[in-house]
Symmetry: C2
Subunit: 170 residues, 2 copies
Amino acid sequence: MAVFFYGCVTLDGYLAAADHSLDWLYETGDASETGYDEFYSGMDVTLMGRRTFRELERAGDPAAVYPATENYVFTHEALSCPGFTAVSMDPVELVRSLGPARNIWVVGGNTILAPLLEGDLVDHLIVQVAPVLLGAGVPLFTQGEALRRFRLEEVRRYGQFAELVYSRPR
Amino acid sequence: MAVFFYGCVTLDGYLAAADHSLDWLYETGDASETGYDEFYSGMDVTLMGRRTFRELERAGDPAAVYPATENYVFTHEALSCPGFTAVSMDPVELVRSLGPARNIWVVGGNTILAPLLEGDLVDHLIVQVAPVLLGAGVPLFTQGEALRRFRLEEVRRYGQFAELVYSRPR
């Protein structure tokens, strides 16, 4: 089992603007320039927050975006979307319950990533840094104060994105 | 004239830990692995805050660290260090007063970088990302809310540091 964060962030560390818009991201370039397809084809499970799921719904059909994975949404609301399951347990508890031999992608947001980082459960961080400053927004990293060291595995460039690939030292 | 930020930051965007320590940085690797000497040889002026200067003093002789540049410290206190001048004006005002044909390095910290970013005066951002999360500390970016787009020029790797090189689009 391995837990991945894979996603875009601004140079000043935001996942989204203060109004949750991703316009800065869409204007930076095309996701097809990145290794996304290869990454996604290796995943078994996605985890996301209610807000990330609602953004997916607003943009179209969530099941078409994540067709090959089991998808869990942390929410107390009911969902009616094939392939997506509402869960209300703690992200750490869910990850432990999924058992071994699963590749789990933390799609977003920070409220799911933070407890997994605090539980030392994040094995890989794959971050595409966009050449943009926002000055305010939804931060990627909101885990508690503690020095956590990763290992830089690779630095790649996809157009205007710098991709940084990290693993948790064992 | 060009204004540069050049410096290390954690993956979660901190210049220093909450207690201002840089232990996480010293443990990541050797600065001699980077292009620092070449960068510094192109600079005419450094700008830094009082806290950065006091850290330099604590570590040894500031004049030995920045021997070839005119060095300005934003402080209301008097300084007695050759090559270092205390200034109490606004960073934007100082940068404008230095005149053309000078390369200015913003050594730190965020209280100097933020007004220069807000004034659209930062031409180059050269950031070495350390493979470390701190969860709290002194953030690099504290400028006000506004979308500011840079251009990714280069992505380099120096040991465990990923260096991202940006320029301001003209």
